[in-house]
């Protein structure tokens, strides 16, 4: 069978994202549930701080957990799409042999395995880190003890595994709905749209055309690149800015998670970018285009998209934290001071430029070493 356990386990990116999401949510939700349990013992002079800590736990959970769950969904869909596109012929053969879309799609449940692994590890790690987090969150003279909540295990491990498996099967079912002959011949589902004739004297060179059409022809990939840069920008800036709204430990934790996540997402986006353009680049090399020309024409088109993603991430994180300060903390009466962090913005931007450039350069070198014949024989 084309879809194996190995395929499900290959999704390291999803494992890492889910790990981070569940890790954060486990101790914050656990703290929230434990804190709620001692609600009646809170003294009036502790009430404001108590409410603030509850609000922080709730908001961090919603922001981090929700955001990370969204990333995992996008990644899962993206990987299934890549998987279906990359295994179009094999899946077409199965269909030609009489397998129904439903029967093939059901095999995609294995993609939920990565979610299970990430969630289980995150849940375990969350419990290990819990004493330190409780120390940071607990208010003086008000002791919150750690208790195990089985419901959290169900909602943070079992439910996401089932949901993501269903999502994988459902999306695969939709992705498989195309004619068998198209799949066997590797035809994509692109709309048959003829190119507009170029205006007189305004004909673009091949390299420019290649750049424009590569980005336009792989919209999902373009979205993923933008999304990766969005994550990098939002998570890193949010992590750094959280220090203004929460304890230093909490801010540092979000920052580290943000960096890990952002680098993972960026790595996955660039890897996919290279992988999906490998054949085109090889063909260009065969014809005598230099590596520099290949890299600029194929990958250069994604640079504006990457920066757009970064800009949107900046706006998003500022808007979200502003909202959190204006709405959530307003309820507890202690409004923390929060403003757009300009130095953090510029440091993040510099890191982003260096990281993106380094990844692209590293892959350009890697690509240069790929044997043209090897790539072509893959067909």
């Amino acid at each position: 069978m084309v879809i194996s356990f190995k395929d499900g386990l290959k999704l390291f990116g999803i494992i890492i994202v889910v790990f981070c999401a569940v890790f954060v949510c486990t101790f914050f939700l656990n703290f929230y549930l434990d804190a709620i349990a001692i609600k009646d013992t809170v003294l009036p002079e502790q009430q404001v701080l108590y409410d603030a800590q509850l609000a922080t736990a709730k908001v961090v959970c919603a922001i981090s957990g929700g955001f990370l769950a969204l990333i995992a969904i996008v990644m899962t869909i993206f990987y299934i799409k890549l998987y279906v596109d990359g295994h179009m012929r094999q899946l077409g053969i199965l269909k030609a042999m009489g397998w129904s879309n439903k029967k093939i799609a059901l095999r995609f449940w294995v993609f939920g395995l990565s979610v299970f692994i990430g969630a289980a590890l995150g849940f375990g790690a969350g419990y290990i880190a819990m004493p330190f987090v409780y120390d940071g969150l607990t208010i003086e003279t008000l002791s919150v003890e750690i208790h195990f909540h089985a419901t959290l295990l169900i909602f943070l491990v079992a439910v996401p595994t089932v949901l993501y498996s269903l999502l994988s099967c459902g999306y695969a079912f939709l992705a498989l709905r195309r004619p068998v002959t198209d799949m066997l011949k590797g035809r994509t589902k692109n709309k048959k749209r003829k190119e507009k004739p170029a205006k007189a004297g305004k004909e673009r060179s091949f390299l420019v055309e290649m750049g424009v059409k590569t980005v336009g022809g792989k919209k999902l990939l373009a979205f993923f690149v933008a999304f990766a840069c969005f994550c990098f920008s939002a998570m890193v800036q949010m992590g750094a800015s959280m220090k203004q709204l929460s304890t230093d430990t909490m801010g540092l934790m979000i920052l580290i998670i943000g960096i890990v996540l952002a680098v993972t997402t960026m790595f996955m986006a660039v890897t996919s970018l290279i992988r999906s353009n490998l054949k085109n680049v090889s063909m260009m090399k065969v014809f005598g285009y230099s590596m520099k020309e290949c890299a600029l024409s194929v990958f250069g088109g994604y640079v504006p998209i990457a920066f757009l993603g970064f800009a949107l991430g900046t706006v998003y994180q500022y808007g979200l934290l502003r909202l959190m300060v204006d709405i959530v903390f307003k309820e507890v009466g202690t409004m923390p001071d929060y403003s757009f962090n300009v130095p953090v913005f510029f440091i993040t931007l510099a890191c982003f430029v260096v990281l993106y450039g380094a990844l692209m350069t590293a892959y350009a070198f890697k690509l240069n070493k790929v044997s043209v014949k090897e790539v072509m024989l893959e067909n």
């Binding site: 692109n190 290649m210 336009g216 085109n280 063909m283 014809f287 005598g288 285009y289 043209v372 067909n379």
Partner: protein, 228 residues
């Protein structure tokens, strides 16, 4: 002139020897067919002679320059200025139109008359179509136009009619032979089809990584005169 001097090519860390000391000479403007069964090493020889792969032993020379000792940059220059390729599997860029696929070759040498070549292969009405909207024969004709648009001195063809039916195969072969007559480039074609070998000036037969026979056709046939 293309010259192979005792070429050895191995894979899997030297355990599989695909070319076992191949030597040959191909003159400028010559039409050569390398004939052999699957696994005989003919496609590997084509890759080495065209600079796609480096030989592990011996020398592959073009005008006395050794391809094996060239740097990556020099090899790129060699491919850019000297050779053209036509493959069995076409390898067209799927997201680009016929026009832009051909422009891929034309732009390398600043050839502005590439549309004439597209017309010559009979695809002037499909300029804006994507490869997926073309038949196999049409796609192979785009490959021919793409290769010829860069005005190569040597054209390497790897089973160019292998994926085509008889009628389309003959048409494609006829285009190639006619273009070779007009442009005078050297043509090195790999095939397993004995009949196609009758169209060549020189036939090089290969078996298990060695050349078993080299002979010349006194009167090469056209694509429509051979059996299939």
């Amino acid at each position: 002139m293309i010259k192979a001097d005792n070429i050895v090519k191995t894979y899997n860390g030297g355990t599989v020897e695909v070319l076992k000391g191949v030597s040959l000479e191909i003159n400028d403007g010559e039409k050569v067919v390398i004939l052999g069964a699957s696994g005989s090493g003919k496609s590997t020889l084509l890759s080495v002679l065209s600079g796609l792969e480096r030989a592990d032993g011996g020398k592959a020379l073009y005008n006395e320059k050794d391809l094996s000792s060239m740097t990556e940059k020099q090899l790129t220059e060699f491919r850019r200025n000297t050779v053209g390729f036509i493959f069995q599997q076409y390898y067209l860029l799927p997201h680009l139109s016929v026009q832009n696929n051909v422009k891929m070759g034309a732009d390398l040498i600043g050839n502005k008359d590439y549309v004439e070549i597209i017309k010559a292969v009979g695809l002037e009405n499909k300029l804006k179509n994507k490869p997926s909207e073309l038949s196999g024969g049409e796609q192979q004709r785009v490959c021919i136009a793409r290769a010829l648009a860069k005005k190569p001195k040597v054209l390497f063809l790897d089973e160019p009619t292998g994926a085509l039916d008889e009628k389309t195969g003959r048409e494609v072969l006829d285009y190639i032979i006619e273009m070779q007559k007009t442009s005078g480039f050297t043509m090195v074609m790999v095939t397993h089809n004995l009949n196609i070998a009758e169209t060549a000036d020189t036939v090089i037969k290969m078996n298990s990584g060695v050349i078993t026979e080299i002979y010349r056709n006194k009167t090469p046939k056209t694509a429509y005169e051979i059996g299939w």
